[in-house]
Symmetry: C2
C-alpha cells in the first residue's frame, strides 16, 4: 500500500468526516485523533459487539465482491444490535489486507461498508488498516444504545410463549449454494433470473432487521431475542439453553424465502436444510407471551413489518424439536453449517 495513514483516511472517508454531518450523529471527535469521542443519548446504556469476516471462511472470490464484503460485515454487526433491541449508532472498522492489495480494493470494501452504514444511520468513527500475510480479515465493532434496562436478551423465554421470526428464511444459504455452483459451472453464469437474484442478494447484501428489533424493544412484549446468523436450529438452541426451556418449531409454519423451492430443485438440494441450518438470514428469532401476541401483531402491522409465529416454548427437558407436516415430532439438533463443504 502506497498511502500513509492520513492519506488513506482521506481516501476512504472522503468528505464524511466533516464536522456538521458527524455532529448531527452525536460524534464529538471523528476519525483522525487517537480515538473518537461520542455522546450517548441521556438514559441510554451502551451496547457493543464485534464480528469478523475472513476470506476463505466467510467468503470466497466467487461468492462476494469487495463491496459486498464491506456491506455484509456492517450488516451482520447491525443485526447484533437489532437482536438486543438496540439502535446501532457507531462503528469501528479494522481491515487487514494482503500486501499486494491496492487502494482501489480498499476503497471498494469501504464503499460497501458505508453503503450499509448510511442505510441504517451508523457513523463510522474509527478504524485501522493493516497488511497481513494471507487473505482479507475484516472486523467491524458496532456500538449502539438502548434505554437503560431494556436490552432484549436470550434468557427470558417462558414455557407457553409463542416463537416468532421476522421474515423469510433460507435465502442466504440458497444464494450461497447457487454462487458456489456457479463458480464451477459456466452454464450458471450470465444474467441471474429474478428469483435467483433475490436469493443471491440475501447472501451478499443481507438487510439487518433494525426496525423490528427496535420495535420489539419499544413494545416491551418480547421476552427473548436472537438474530439468525448461525441458522435457525442453532439460534433456537441458544434461546432454549439461556432461558432454560424447550422450543417446538412447526415445519409448515416456517416462512421460506421466495424462490427457495425452485432453486433447491435446480441444485438438487434440500430447502429445509437451508432454512434450519443455513444461517446468515439475519432475521430475528424471538418469543412473546401468547396473551401479548395480538398486540405484537398489531404493532408490527402498524409499521408494515411481517411477523411469523413458527412454534411455541415448551418445558426445559424437551429441548429444541421440529414438528413435521405429518404431525410427528423429532429433535432438532444444534449443528453448524460448513459454508464451503462439498455437497
Amino acid at each position: 500500500m502506497q498511502h500513509d495513514e492520513f492519506g488513506l483516511i482521506r481516501l476512504l472517508t472522503g468528505d464524511r468526516q466533516q464536522a456538521d454531518g458527524m455532529r448531527s450523529q452525536g460524534v464529538v471527535v471523528g476519525i483522525g485523533d487517537d480515538a473518537a469521542v461520542t455522546a450517548l443519548s441521556p438514559g441510554m446504556q451502551l451496547v457493543a459487539s464485534c464480528d469478523t469476516m475472513t476470506e476463505g471462511i466467510h467468503f470466497l472470490p466467487v461468492t462476494m465482491r469487495d463491496e459486498d464484503i464491506g456491506f455484509k460485515a456492517m450488516a451482520s454487526n447491525i443485526s447484533d444490535m437489532a437482536a438486543m433491541g438496540a439502535k446501532a449508532r457507531y462503528a469501528l472498522v479494522a481491515l487487514s489486507l494482503p500486501k499486494d492489495a491496492d487502494t482501489e480494493q480498499i476503497r471498494r470494501i469501504y464503499a460497501g461498508l458505508y453503503e450499509c452504514a448510511d442505510l441504517f444511520g451508523v457513523a463510522v468513527i474509527g478504524g485501522d488498516t493493516t497488511s497481513t500475510r494471507g487473505g482479507i480479515v475484516l472486523t467491524v465493532t458496532i456500538l449502539g444504545e438502548v434505554p437503560a434496562g431494556r436490552a432484549l436478551l436470550r434468557s427470558g423465554a417462558k414455557p407457553g410463549d409463542a416463537v416468532f421470526v421476522t421474515g423469510p428464511l433460507g435465502g442466504s444459504a440458497a444464494g450461497l449454494s447457487y454462487l458456489l455452483h456457479r463458480g464451477t459451472d459456466a452454464a450458471l453464469w450470465g444474467e441471474l433470473p429474478a428469483e435467483t437474484a433475490e436469493l443471491v442478494r440475501a447472501h451478499t447484501r443481507p438487510l439487518p432487521q433494525a426496525a423490528a428489533g427496535e420495535l420489539l424493544q419499544r413494545t416491551g412484549l418480547c421476552r427473548a431475542l436472537n438474530d439468525i446468523s448461525d441458522g435457525l436450529a442453532s439460534e433456537a438452541a441458544e434461546i432454549a439453553e439461556a432461558s432454560g426451556v424447550g422450543l417446538l418449531i412447526a415445519e409448515e409454519k416456517l416462512p421460506l424465502a421466495e424462490g427457495l423451492r425452485a432453486c433447491a430443485e435446480k441444485l438438487a438440494a434440500d430447502p429445509l436444510e437451508w432454512v434450519l441450518y443455513g444461517g446468515e438470514d439475519y432475521q430475528l428469532l424471538g418469543t412473546a407471551a401468547e396473551a401479548d401476541l395480538a398486540a405484537l401483531r398489531e404493532a408490527f402491522s402498524g409499521e408494515g413489518l411481517p411477523l411469523h409465529v413458527i412454534g411455541r416454548v415448551t418445558a426445559a427437558g424437551e429441548g429444541v424439536r421440529l414438528q413435521r407436516p405429518d404431525g410427528t415430532v423429532q429433535p432438532l439438533p444444534k449443528r453448524g453449517y460448513n459454508h464451503f463443504a462439498a455437497k
Copy 2:
C-alpha cells in the same frame, strides 16, 4: 479448532464472566449474548478506538510470545485512551488464527490480553474468534470514558507552549532490534542481561501511561496530546499539523531508556534513531502553556509520575525541528520505521 463458540468462550473467559465481578465494572450483560450492555458513568462521553496487530507486520515468532501478543495488543489500545485523557473501561477482542492453531495457543494469547486488561481495570465484554488463511490477526477495540468536553486532542498546541513526554524513549525499538539480532545469532540467546531484559520488556510488554493521561485531563493544563506509537518524530508532526504550529525538540533533553546506549553499541546501532523513529514506546507526548508548567510538574510529582520537558512549540511555518547538542537546528522529517527491514 475443535471447540464450538460457547466452549471456546468458556475456555477463554474462565470465571471472568461471573455477574458480580462484571457488575462492579459497570457491565450489565457480558459475553454470551448477541452483544454486551454497559453503563457509562453520568456526565461522561464515550471514547472509542481500535488497533490491529498482524503476524509478520507487527510481530514475528522470534520477537513476541503468544502471551506478549495479547498483552501488547491490549496495551496499545489502552494507550490510545490515555492519549485522549480518557479512562479505558471495556474491550472487545477479534482474534483470527491459522486453521491449524490449537486452543492452547488461543488460551495463551488471551492470558496476555487479560493480564494487561486486569492491570488497568479494563473488562473484556465481547469478541469473535475466527480462522484465517495466513498468520494471526488480532484487533482490540477499546472503549473508555472522559468527562464531557474534556477529551485531550492533538489540535490545541499554541506557540510558546512547552513540549513534554511522560517517560523514557527508544526502549521498544532497542528491544526489538536485540530480538531480531538474537533471532539469527545464537550467541545472543540464553539469559538476558538485566538491562537488555528491560529493553526487551519495553517492546514485548509496554505499559500504557494511563495514570499520566488521566492526570493530564484532570489538571486541565494539557493543550495537545498524542501517544508515541509511531515514533517521536511522527507524533510530533501530527501535533504540529493538527494544531497549525511548529515544534522544536532539544536532543539533549530527550530521556533515553536505561541501557539504550550500551545496547546500541553492542548492536552497532544509532540510539537517536530508536528514540526518534522507533515508536511503540507508548509514552505520551504533549504540550502545556509555559505558565502552567510549574503546576503540572507539581501534579506529576505528587503522583510519583515523571515529566520531561523536551522542547517548545513554535510558529507554524517552522515545522518540526531538532536542536542538536552543538546548537545547530535541523528539520526532523516525519518518516515511518520499517520494523523488519534489514539493518
